[in-house]
């Protein structure tokens, strides 16, 4: 049993966020760290993402998920950063004590700082209340991806996909390549909820139709799935009677959204943001519990892993400063948004530090302008020909332009 009693920084999760934070911390001179990973090896969800398209921003080349993860695993191993696998954290206390279970026993760690990097989970059939029978053959996209790519098991032959999230579209292609027939992808919104490049590369290139403003309204089959009923929805996303159409299929793949996995954060007393479903953080990625930080998909769901790595590195810079100085600048200014913006990261700032402002728009907007201001004073403006909910917007904010007394206002204007 590797008994780690006290560390400077404990990182919960060895996925892309955890690994990037660990490497950056080490390079900043904080070497007394540990990564706790529940799986057999680090890499997180990237391990099952065997398609390419990762790393264009970060490494200027296109990598598969495992390849992208391996770059960071190699960096961690070169630095001999300790990671403990097959270990599930059971509890984090507000005073940063961590209890974890492994086959070697119950681990107890006292950390000066804790980095939450647990990633996210998928929304399920129950979460979106799809009516109908309860047969086998209904899988979330990530579970189907795991079965096919990690366990080598084929989940079905005649497939319908609900939700145009990125994983759903990637699974449409994957299932097609493995010989399944993907009949269609249905999306309840009037626009795709995934990246435009995935609509092109995963659906159009394979002649898989995408139906917008449609949803599954019934599930048929008492044993294995026998079919789904799909209906068109109105502008309030309510099914329109009379538009029902039955698709005979043995498999329904759900790609209906991701939720940051914050059960441990809640246990630690961290306040969550009802909009992002992740922690409320300041410009240092510190939560409202001192010494507990969060980055990556546990904080807010990203569309590109490259941005996760970058965010975790910024977090690591702040954590390094926290370890060195014992505290960070208080952040008492709020970041406020108009109704066109769903949420921002961070939600709190000091007004004295430069930071990267991340946000998403609520619905697709054309020729819009993101305006960032303080007390009516415009700090930054950025024009977008097209802004999509599927694409996170990130705008660097320069400390020199900020004051430290007024809340920051973010709005999207058409």
């Amino acid at each position: 049993m590797r008994s780690v009693k006290e560390v400077s920084v404990a990182i919960i999760g060895g996925g892309p966020a955890g690994l990037a934070a660990a490497v950056r911390l080490y390079d900043k001179g904080i070497k007394d760290i540990v990564i706790l990973e529940r799986e057999k090896m680090p890499g997180g969800i990237l391990r099952q993402c065997i398609h390419d398209g990762f790393g264009l921003t970060r490494f200027k080349e296109t990598l598969s998920g495992p390849e992208y993860a391996q770059r960071f695993i190699d960096m961690a191993e070169e630095r001999k950063i300790p990671y403990i696998t097959d270990t599930t954290v059971l509890e984090i206390t507000p005073d940063r004590k961590i209890y974890a279970a492994s086959k070697n026993g119950i681990l107890e760690i006292q950390a000066k700082a804790v980095i939450l990097a647990m990633g996210c989970r998928e929304r399920t059939r129950g979460a979106i209340s799809i009516p109908g029978e309860r047969p086998s053959g209904v899988y979330t996209a990530g579970v189907a991806q795991s079965y096919i790519n990690l366990y080598n098991k084929m989940v079905g032959k005649e497939v319908v996909i609900l939700g145009s999230g990125d994983i759903g579209m990637i699974m449409a292609r994957r299932l097609t390549l493995e010989g399944a027939h993907v009949q269609a992808v249905f999306e309840i919104q009037p626009y795709s909820s995934g990246l435009p490049r995935n609509v092109e590369q995963c659906l159009r290139d394979y002649n898989i139709p995408l139906y917008l403003s449609h949803t599954v309204t019934d599930i048929l089959g008492k044993e294995r799935l026998e079919g789904v009923v799909v209906s068109r929805v109105d502008e309030h996303m309510q099914p329109i009677p009379g538009t029902e159409k039955t698709y005979t299929c043995d498999t329904l793949i759900l790609s209906v959204g991701l939720i940051p996995e914050n059960e441990l954060s809640i246990g630690a007393g961290v306040t969550l943001d009802g909009r992002s479903k992740g922690a409320v953080v300041d410009e240092n990625y510190q939560t409202d519990i001192e010494g507990i930080f969060a980055a990556g998909n546990v904080l807010h769901v990203h569309d590109l892993v490259d941005f996760v790595s970058r965010e975790a590195e910024s977090l690591a810079d702040a954590v390094a400063a926290y370890i060195e100085n014992g505290e960070l600048r208080k952040c008492s200014l709020e970041v406020e948004t108009d109704t066109n913006i769903t949420h921002t990261i961070p939600q709190k700032i000091s007004g004295e530090k430069s930071f990267l402002l991340s946000m998403r728009v609520r619905q697709p907007m054309k020729n819009c302008e993101i305006v960032i201001s303080q007390g009516g004073q415009i700090i930054k403006k950025k024009n977008f020909k097209k802004a999509l909910p599927a694409e996170m917007i990130q705008i660097p904010i320069d400390a020199e332009k900020l004051n430290s007394s007024e809340n920051l206002e973010v709005s999207a204007i058409c």
């Binding site: 599930t88 399920t124 009516p131």
Partner: protein
């Protein structure tokens, strides 16, 4: 062809309770079940209430068995090692009509022998549950909550360890009477038996007719439910029911489960189809609307799952009145016990009914006592319910307790392995779920289902195409990828 003294048709809670009570005697007993596990029908599709017995007509079998089953349940839960909380119940009222209805049923409860019921004011309600609505309430201390799946499994496992055989995938197709004995043709072969006990639930009227008893007219009262996240259950110490209507029916209510979730429902509407368990948008929307009115934590972000169950009630076609449970046995139908119309509160009544069925057989057969009968059964020890010290010891003793497979419900590899090797030989994913709670949490198996199916294959040496979700045809994989 297998030969038995006693054949029980149906492995719902009643069939399993009858089996457990008969296992006290030296009788070769088998339970025939069409599905692949116990409690696949309405035994698992209910609120999990241990009812007190204040809404059932005095003198009825329902009333008698409910009060009996309620009073003994602390002992039963201990013997069978099943989760149970005697939470009590609040039946809340807002106005004088509510008060009149509540008092009417309080009186009935008193006649039935329900102990300790009393009217309480708002001040006292605040002490029990400040979040409860209403101006006043009837406090029913004897009500409780249990896990109906775990309970049925426990009854079956206890019966099994005392010698009863379970035959799953054995749908009864025909019952042939040969003198005073029976030949039962099933989807898995033929069984010869002296006694037949009808515990077939929604199909009990059909079996009843095959045995020569009436084909009792039944009506299906279907109800749908929402299952809410444990976050919604944090501040819910006690089930809260609205005042009943004058027939003793309750509108939609929220009930905590013994595991800390919340059930919202059931509503009630008629159905004709025996296994019509589909959920519908109309009723889910209705539950959401009604749920919002009475339960502040009815939030969409807490939705985990939906399910439906059906109470098949015997009714009198000429008056439309619902009837009492039927438990009968007579010489015109030798060596049979006929149980029909066992619906809510069937969980509470299961053992009292089982005892009555066993008594009929005991009287006729005068069997010897089963010398090795043990009323106790041990459940799977749950890591999530251990103290910190117990966890350390458990992992030291068995390292598989240190491997968390289901993160949401903190279920370990040790528990899942024990479940896969359960005494009844059930190996469906749903079977593992009902025995361990793995996949029952908020991610609904997103993290652990892949691991559980892999464990089922490896432990039982079966291929991926043989893994079943719940029913015989509910395959999960079409083969290997390549």
């Amino acid at each position: 062809m297998e030969q038995y003294d006693i054949t029980i048709i149906g492995a719902g809670v009643v069939g399993c309770a009858v089996a457990r009570e008969i296992s006290r005697f030296q009788l070769r007993t088998v339970v025939l079940e069409k599905d692949m596990d116990v409690a696949c029908g309405n035994s698992s599709r209910n609120t999990g209430m241990l009812h007190a017995g204040f809404t059932y007509a005095p003198g009825s079998l329902k009333a008698e068995c409910t009060v009996e089953g309620n009073q003994e349940f602390d002992q039963v839960a201990k013997e069978l090692d099943v989760p149970f909380k005697r939470t009590g119940k609040l039946v809340i009222g807002f106005n004088e009509t509510d008060r009149a209805n509540i008092l009417k049923f309080k009186k009935i409860g008193e006649i039935n022998g329900v102990k300790g019921m009393r009217m309480i004011n708002r001040e006292e309600m605040d002490k029990i549950d400040p979040n409860a609505g209403g101006e006043f309430a009837m406090y029913v201390p004897s009500s409780g909550i249990l896990d109906p799946m775990q309970y049925t499994i426990a009854l079956a496992e206890n019966a099994c360890s005392n010698g009863v055989k379970f035959r799953f995938g054995s749908k009864v197709e025909k019952i042939l009477r040969e003198g005073d004995t029976y030949r039962i043709l099933t989807s898995s072969g033929e069984f010869r038996t002296k006694w037949v006990i009808n515990c077939a639930g929604m199909y009990a009227s059909q079996i009843s007719e095959q045995l020569g008893y009436p084909n009792y007219p039944v009506r299906g009262f279907k109800g749908e439910y929402y299952v809410l996240d444990k976050k919604a259950g944090k501040n819910m110490p006690i089930p809260i029911y609205p005042a009943p209507n004058e027939k003793g029916g309750f509108a939609t209510h929220a009930t905590p489960t013994v595991d800390g979730n919340v059930l919202v429902g059931p509503d009630s509407y008629l159905t004709d189809e025996p296994e019509d368990y589909k959920t519908t948008k109309e009723h889910m929307d209705g539950l959401y609307r009604d749920g919002l009115k009475m339960f502040s934590e009815m939030k969409r972000e807490y939705f985990i799952r939906n399910f439906a169950g059906i109470r098949w009630k015997i009714y009198n076609p000429s008056t439309g009145e619902n009837q009492d449970f039927v438990l009968e046995s007579d010489d015109a139908h030798p060596h049979t016990v006929n149980l029909v119309g066992i619906e809510s509160p069937g969980i509470t009544c299961a053992l009292p009914l089982g005892r009555r069925a066993a008594a009929i057989i005991k009287e006729k057969e005068q069997p010897d006592n089963n010398p090795s009968f043990n009323p106790c059964r041990k459940g799977i020890r749950r890591f999530s319910e251990m103290s910190p010290e117990e966890k350390i010891h458990a992992v030291a003793e068995n390292p598989d307790y240190g491997e968390i497979v289901c993160r949401c419900e903190t279920v370990t590899r040790a528990e899942i392995l024990t479940a896969i090797h359960n005494p009844l030989g059930v190996h469906t994913v749903t079977g593992i779920k009902n025995r361990t709670r793995a996949t029952m949490g908020r991610c609904q198996g997103g993290y652990c289902e892949t691991r559980i199916t892999e464990m089922i294959e490896k432990e039982l040496g079966i291929s991926e195409t043989d893994v079943r979700y719940s029913k015989a045809g509910s395959y999960m994989f079409t083969g290997k990828v390549r």
